[in-house]
Structures are given as C-alpha cells and as structure tokens.
C-alpha cells in the first residue's frame, strides 16, 4: 500500500487545500503536507531491499478488464531514488516559493501536488496505459504553473511546452495500443497492458529496414521520451519553458520532469526493444554528445542567467542520454546518478536565481557585478552549487560525469573525447558567469542598492538558508559517499545490462 500512498497522498492533500478556508495558512499547510510525503517516501526507502533486482511493494489490481489494463505499480532500483528525489524537492520548492508566488496561492499549491502525483505515478507505473495516464497528467498542472505564474512570454512558452510534449506522446500511445494487440501471443490469449507481459514480447527486428515493427515502435517511444529529456534537436521548448516558469516551476521541471524522460529509456525503451536500441544506440550517443557541446556553447553566450542555466540543462541531460546508450555498467550507473545530481544542482541554481530575482527583478548578467561584497553568504552558496554543476571532485556532479565519461571511453574513445570538451565548456560558462555576477567591478544593481536604502541587497534570510542547506548537504554527501546512493540501484542496473535480450523482472 505504501506506493499507492505515495501516489495518491498528494491528491488528497490537494483536495484538502482546495477546501481549506484560511488563505493565510495555505503555505504552512502545504509545507507540512510535503514534509509528510517526504517522510512517507523515507519509510518506503527504509523498507526497500537494495540487494534485489526484483520489483518491490508491488500492487496489482484489475482496472479495465476488457483490455487487460491494471493498476499495477512497483518499485525497483531504477526508480527508487527518483521517487525520493521528487518528494525531497517538494518541500524545498514550497519553501522556496514562499515570497515569489503572491497571486492565487491556493491554486499554485494544488497544481504542485497534482503534479507530484503525476510524476510519482509515472515513475511507479508498470502498466502501459496507467503509465500513459500519469505521463500525460503531468502536462496539465505544469501548463498552468508556467502559464499563470510565469514571466512575460509565459503563454507562448507554456503552449509550446504542452503541444511539443503531447505531440511526442500520442505516437507512444499508438505504439502502446499496437503492443497491447500483440500480447495475446505471450499471455495465452488475453490482451494485456502489463509491462511484464510487454517484456516477454519478441517483436521482429530487421536491421537496415526502417519500416519494421520494432524499429517503428522503438522510435515512437524514444521520440516521446527524447522530447521530454530534451534531446537535441528536440530541446527548443525547454529554454522557453525554463525562462518563463516561476522559480518552483523551473525547479520541478529541471529537477524531476526531465528525469521522467531519461528514466523511461531505462524502464521502457532498452528492455522492450533490445535489438533496435542496440542498433540505433549510436544515433542517441551522437545526439547526446551534440547536445552536450551545443548546449554548452549556447549557454556561453546567454545574457540571461536563467537562460544560461536552461541551456546547461540541455548539456547535462546530454550526458545522461550518452550514459544510457553506451549501455555499459559505468555509463548507466553514471547516468542514473547524474539524473539525481542534475535534479539537485540545477534545482539549487534555479532557486538561487529566483532569490536574487526577487531582490533585483532582473536576470541580466550585465547588470550584476561585485555581488560578493553585498551578499557574501549567497555568494558562497552559489559557488558551491556551481562547483557541483561543473563537476568538481568532492561534489556529486563529479561522480556522475566521471562515470559517464568512463563508460563513453569504453564505448568509443573518440566520442568520449568530444564529450569531454563539454566539461571544459561547462566550466567555462559557469565560471565566467560567476565571475561577472559576483566579482569584478560593481555593476548597476549593486551600485544602486548602495545609493538607495530601499533597494538594499539583503543577504540570505533564515528561510532561504533553510531552503539551500539540504541541497548543499546533498551535494557534498553524494560527492563524498556515492555508494550510499548507488547501492540502491546497482543490482537493478546489473540485471538490466546482463539481460538485455531477455529482460524480465521478478515480483517480490
């Protein structure tokens, strides 16, 4: 029952919030709820057996009998940390948006909780239709979060986000329907949407021919997920959505939603279409590497801090894709780790940018300069997060990128050589940005604040300190003791890589 609790508790919270009469205590209530949800996920983590690759806490009920669709959820090493990441970021987001969301506070928190249901549901669903329902459900609250509480071009950004993502996923829906039609072969006559039955399917694959079942199904799924990741060249919605989204929207987008895409490669694409995945792995590795370098280069010339971080997301998610598609132990372990890292470090970056934006109402790098003297604590936090983002040893980013690059090197040294340039470029644009914003001559923002006491720049408040502290702790914890986290997923990844052709999952 614990997984259903994780999925549906946020919906119940949203309903309570909707009925809550007192406007002034909505935030407190939401924060309390999100902490309860996080504690529930810790209870789940405590009961999780990391020495097994089997699905755990499985719940399987018939939902739509006629089509063999079930309410089938379970967790294994691949999804467990992502679920915890989702619940971990939620209280941080709510506390982080304490001051920035002023309008329609209740609606905002309701949307956040519905989004949480959708995201956790997509990570846990083991039934294709159930998964699709959660996957698409995540669009609606995000659409409202960006569209209502976003910046000036929010409507353009949110509609683009919605249509882009939906365009990818409807083809996946068709592929799901098609695969359901094939299941009677393996279930003995009954149609089924269960992922475990899908795993048993042997879909014919012919190398070199595009119009064969497995290749088409592979692309239907892979493109849907690639849009979500986003993989170059399908990434164009992301910078718009990130820049226009309110701070918590950016955090949840970068922190969790992008991971839904990469996670699904491990859960759906690689095991379901082993031959096609292997055959087209080069394509995804190449696009991933192009994304790494392209994202970094574009980030380098951005005048807007938030846009810079958005493009750095494209670059970082490129690493994850490369790590997955090199299909060796280093790569996939690194990719899964990098998903968590990116969630924490990019989430932290967006929160930091949000904090300074609340004070100055500008995100233009050129207007800053010399911020370090005005806000020393803020500067320290920012630099720590930057170190994590550019993968300095002892921070979490280092472990992830290092493993991915090791895996890539084993796959093909030349590809690794190109990917490594992304690390260099990444360091370059982040450090330049830090230099321009925090050091050097005092910029417009700082001089104005010194002249005018109304615009004085306050350093981190207690609330902001509480928001950032857990993230900074995680950055070092994950950087120094990676095994504390990787042990959860190790068995599942080994199992995946050892049984690429005949993947199946036991149910515990």
């Amino acid at each position: 029952m614990i997984l259903s609790t994780l999925i549906f508790l946020p919906i119940i919270f949203a309903l309570i919030l909707a009925a809550w009469p007192q406007k002034s205590t909505i935030r407190h209530l939401a924060l309390g709820f999100s902490i309860i949800q996080f504690l529930v996920s810790l209870v789940m983590l405590n009961g999780f057996d990391s020495n097994s690759s089997a699905l755990q806490f499985v719940e399987n009920y018939v939902w739509i009998e006629r089509f063999g669709i079930g309410y089938f959820v379970g967790i294994d090493g691949i999804s467990v940390m992502l679920v915890v990441l989702t619940t971990f970021l939620m209280p941080i987001m709510i506390l982080g948006s304490w001051k920035s969301i002023e309008d329609r506070v209740k609606g905002f928190h309701i949307a956040l909780f519905i989004l949480q249901t959708a995201m956790i549901g997509s990570f846990l669903a083991l039934d294709a239709v159930l998964f699709y329902v959660f996957w698409e459900l995540s669009l609606v609250p995000m659409y409202f979060i960006v569209g209502i509480w976003g910046g000036a071009r929010r409507i353009y950004a949110t509609v683009k986000f919605f249509i882009y993502t939906m365009a990818g996923s409807v083809l996946m829906l068709l592929a799901i329907i098609f695969m359901m039609r094939l299941t009677p072969e393996v279930t003995g006559g009954n149609i089924s949407a269960s992922l475990l039955d899908f795993y048993k399917l042997k879909i014919p694959f012919v190398a070199g021919e595009f119009f064969t079942a497995q290749t088409l199904l592979f692309f239907a799924f892979a493109v849907a997920f690639a849009i979500k990741v986003p993989l170059f060249p399908l990434h164009t919605w992301l910078p718009d959505a990130h820049v226009e989204a309110p701070t918590p929207g950016s955090v949840v987008l970068a922190g969790v939603m992008l991971k839904m895409g990469t996670y699904c490669y491990l859960r759906w694409v690689l095991p379901l279409f082993p031959e096609a995945s292997e055959h087209f792995a080069w394509l995804f590795v190449v696009l991933g590497v192009v994304g790494i370098v392209y994202g970094a280069l574009v980030a380098m010339i951005q005048p807007d801090v938030k846009k810079l971080v958005a493009y750095s997301s494209v670059s970082h998610m490129g690493y994850v894709i490369v790590g997955i598609f090199v299909m060796n132990s280093f790569g996939v372990n690194g990719a899964l780790y990098q998903m968590l890292n990116h969630g924490i470090s990019t989430g932290a970056l967006f929160l930091l940018i949000g904090m300074i934006y609340e004070r100055t109402h500008t995100r233009e790098i050129a207007k800053y300069g010399g911020l370090a003297s005005a806000m020393p604590n803020y500067t320290i936090a920012f630099i720590i997060v930057t170190m994590s983002s550019i993968a300095v040893p002892l921070t979490n980013g280092f472990i992830g990128e290092f493993l991915i690059l090791m895996g890539t090197f084993k796959y093909n040294p030349w590809v690794a050589a190109v990917a490594v340039t992304g690390v260099v470029f990444g360091a370059a644009y982040m450090l330049w940005m830090v230099k321009k914003v925090f050091f050097g001559p005092k910029g417009e923002v700082v001089t104005e604040s010194e002249k005018d006491s109304h615009h004085a720049l306050h350093d981190l408040s207690v609330r902001e300190f509480v928001v950032l502290a857990p993230l900074v702790v995680m950055i070092f914890w994950m950087g120094v003791f990676p095994n504390h986290f990787m042990d959860f997923s190790k068995k599942s990844i080994d199992h995946l890589l050892a049984n690429k052709q005949n993947y199946s999952l036991e149910v515990k």
Partner: protein, 486 residues
C-alpha cells in the same frame, strides 16, 4: 401484407408514446388557459419527467432484441443505449433552453413540444431497421429542429441558420431517398436486416445497389457533417440559439451516428474496396479539415462547431472499423462509448456558452473569456475539464473514448487511421487550450452575462464530475455496452 398490431408492439414503443403524451401536456394546458404561457418551470419539469419515464421504459423494454410492427422497428442494445444517451443529452438541452437568453419565453410550451417530438423522431431513427421508417424518424427529428432554430428571440442570424439548415437538410434527405429508391429497385427490399445477410455480395454484383447505398451513406454524411458535406455546420451551429445548438451537436448527432452504424453493420464495406477507401479518406479529411479550420476561429461557438466536425471524423473511424469487423460488437461499442463521451463534453462546453452569452445577439469570442477564472472559478474549472477532455487528455473521459476507438481501429489493422486520429488530437490541443489560456492566464473583466442560471450550472457541474469520474471507472460501462450490442 398482413399487418397486426399487438400488445407487444405497444409495449415496445411505449417510450415513444410516453414522449408524445408528455409533449402534449404543456401545450394542452396552454391552449386551455386561453393561449397564455403557463409557468415555464412547470413546463420544463413536465418535459423532463416525460424524458425520464421514456428512458425508464426504454431500459425495461428496449434491449430485448424484439421487433415491432412487422420488423420495422428493432429494439436491441444499440436502440437502447443510443436512445438513452440521446435522452440524457436532450434533457440537458431542454434545461439549457429553459434558461437561455434567446429562448422566447412566451412560446416555451411550443418549444418543448417541438423538442419532445424531435426526440421522438430520434427514437424512431435509432430503432428503425426499415429504410423508409428510418426516413420518417429522420424527418420528424429534423423538421422539429428547423422550427426550434427559427423560434429564437434573435431576429436575423437564427432565421438564416434555420433556412440554411432546412435547405441543406432537405437536400440531404432527398439524396437519402434517392439512394433508397435504387436499393429498393435492385433488391426489392428496404429492410436493413434482410440487406445485412447479402449486402457484401450485392455490392459486388449489383452496380445499382452500390450506387443506391452510396447515396444513402452520403445522406448520412450530410447529417453528421462529414467533410466535404459539412459546410452548413459552422453557420448553423453559430446562428442557432446556443441551447438548440447543444441539442443538435449532441443528441441529434448521437442518434444519426447510431442509425449510420446500422447501415455500416450490413457489412457492405467488406464487399466494396472502393467504398472502403473513399470512407477512410473521408474520415481523414474530416478530422483534419475540422481541426485546421477550428485553429483559425475566434468565435467560441464556431470553434466548437469545427471541433464537432473533427469529432465526426474520429467517430467515422469507429464506424469503418465496425463495418469491416467480424466481431462488430467491440467496435460498435467503442463508437457508442465515444458518442456518450462526445455528447457529455460537448454539452458541457455549449452549456457554459449558453450561460455566459450576454444576449441572443452576443457572439461569444475567445477574448470574452479573459479573467473568467477569477469571476467564476467553478465554471472556469468545468470548462477546462470539458476542453481537456475534448482534446483527449487523460485522465478525462475523452481520453478513454479515444483510447477505445483507436484500439478498435488498430485491432482491425486500420493503424493509419488511428495515426491520423492521434496526430489530429495534437492539432486540436492548440485551439482547445486557447479559451483556457484566456480564462486563467490573461487578466481582464470577462465580457459575460452574470445572472445566475442554477439549473444550467447544475448540468455543467454534473457533466464535469461525470467526465472526471466515469473516465477512470469506464470498464464496467464499456463491458455493458459490448454485452448488450453482442
């Protein structure tokens, strides 16, 4: 021919008799009171009681697979369920008429009389398995409707819409009759059950039969607005009083498609590859044209009209599937389920339009919705549910409707039609999102009426809850449909 009418016939058509009796009550009381309009609320309640009784009788006697009047009317699962869907949609339509601005309150009894008789025509249409009886049902339904469109407070546009609909509707009826005459000429029968057994071979052997069948199908294509026979739809949907539009777009469409399904059930498609190809293309064109045209509309009702055209395209995919399928109960029930889905969400959207238009001359545009979410949060939420459901987003009913429809198509190998269907769903998202953008994301004073309309509000809220709940628990309903159609 020896025709005897027995008790069983009377019992079978009792839902229709009930409708007719209840349609007379308000009219009679008005005449007896010296042609003065009585309490309109009482009139509405009498009409709704009539619908409920008729629906109850349909549930009791409808699904028995018996025929009445020498095999002219068939009371099977399709009659029963299509009838019930139509009655529910029509009932909601009547509630809208009661509170809509453009309804002429001094003629309310007449409107109810016409509406009830139109519903009577619908029941004849879905139950008839005789092409001429079917025609009678079709005409009874349509003629009442022409009048209802014209009986608006508004003087110009609705009259124009009525004339347009009348002329084009008559033209479609003529095509239909023309086709029936060829079918009769070539086979000596107009009984659909007779035709069913040999239509697949007849279309191969008899050119004349194929010709006649094509015209019958064309006649229906007009009625359910399949492109390129859709041109009347946007004008009539926009021009007609919104309450009547909702009635047309839901109840009328449901029964027309149900009757259309009977023509397809003759298995004629399996005999004629050409007909099969043409219909597939019509489905693709209908979906695409409907959606592309909706993209450029600014008027809300017109957008819904084009959306309704594109949904006709989706339903046609289901009809084609049912037409070629050996186990047509499955695909037919997916069509029926989609009709239910479509009716509820379209009714909801039109109901909101009907509530907030300021007067009969107010053409609600998308801009009018700016700031709506702040003025009327509940209605805005409901409209969002309807629009997202029309776009086919899970977990709404609209998603499950499309899922069943396209699953059926894929199971019959019509993957490419399903592909067009899902691509079109994406296109449609753009215009379904537009009012939502306006309501929630733009500030402004919503340019809308604000006198409370309780009955319509209740209808809207119930529809929205229905869409959210029934979608998630649609399994028993679908199985029920499939069992009763099997």
């Amino acid at each position: 021919m020896n025709v005897t009418i027995g008790m069983s016939d009377i019992l079978l058509i009792s839902p229709m008799i009930a409708l007719f009796v209840f349609s007379l009550l308000p009219l009679a009381s008005k005449v007896l009171a010296g042609n003065k309009e009585q309490n309109t609320a009482a009139t509405l309640i009498v009409a709704l009681i009539g619908l409920v009784i008729s629906g109850g009788l349909l549930v009791v006697f409808g699904g028995s697979d018996k025929t009445a009047f020498n095999g002219q009317l068939l009371f099977d699962g399709l009659t029963q369920w299509a009838g019930i869907i139509a009655l529910i949609a029509a009932g909601a339509g009547l509630i809208l008429m009661y509170e809509n601005q453009s309804t002429n309150q001094s003629q309310f009894s007449e409107i109810m009389f016409l509406a009830m008789n139109s519903i009577l025509g619908m029941l004849i249409l879905v139950s008839s398995v005789h092409l001429l009886t079917l025609f009678i049902g079709l005409e009874l339904m349509s003629l009442s409707l022409y009048l209802m469109i014209a009986m608006s407070n508004e003087q110009k546009i609705s009259k124009e819409a009525a004339i347009k609909y009348f002329i084009l509707g008559s033209f479609a009826s003529a095509l239909f009759l023309f086709g029936v005459s060829y079918i009769f000429g070539s086979t000596n029968t107009v009984d659909i059950t007779d035709l069913m057994s040999n239509a697949a071979t007849l279309v191969k052997t008899s050119k004349m039969f194929l010709f006649g069948l094509t015209f019958v199908i064309l006649g229906f294509c007009f009625k359910v607005s399949i492109v390129p026979f859709h041109a009347w739809t946007p004008d009539v949907y926009q021009g007609a009083p919104t309450a009547v539009t909702s009635f047309m777009a839901t109840a009328v469409k449901t029964v027309s498609f149900a009757a259309f399904l009977r023509i397809f059930a003759t298995q004629a498609l399996n005999g004629s590859q050409n007909l099969f190809d043409v219909l597939q293309w019509l489905a693709v064109i209908t979906m695409t044209v409907g959606n592309l045209a909706a993209l450029v509309q600014t008027n809300f009702k017109r957008t819904l009209a084009y959306s309704s055209i594109s949904h006709s395209g989706y339903i046609l995919v289901g009809l084609i599937t049912a037409g070629i399928s050996q186990n047509s109960a499955y695909s037919a029930s997916s069509v029926l389920f989609y009709l239910l889905t479509y009716s509820v969400m379209t009714m909801g959207a039109f109901a909101i339009a009907s509530m907030i238009e300021k007067s009969e001359n107010h053409f609600l545009s998308n801009e009018d919705f700016a700031g709506f979410a702040k003025n009327r949060p509940v209605l805005a939420l409901c409209l969002s549910v309807f629009l997202l459901s029309l776009a086919g987003l899970p977990p709404t009913l609209g998603f499950f409707g499309k899922f069943y429809l396209f699953s059926a198509a894929v199971s019959e190998g019509l993957v490419w039609l399903a592909l067009w269907g899902v691509i079109n769903s994406v296109i449609s998202v753009y215009y379904y999102l537009r009012p939502i953008v306006m309501m929630y994301m733009r500030d402004g004073e919503a340019n809308i009426a604000d006198h409370p309309q309780q009955a319509t509000t209740v209808t809207v809220v119930i529809s929205a809850i229905f869409i959210l709940i029934v979608g998630l628990f649609s399994s028993p309903l679908f199985t029920l449909f499939e069992n009763s159609l099997g």
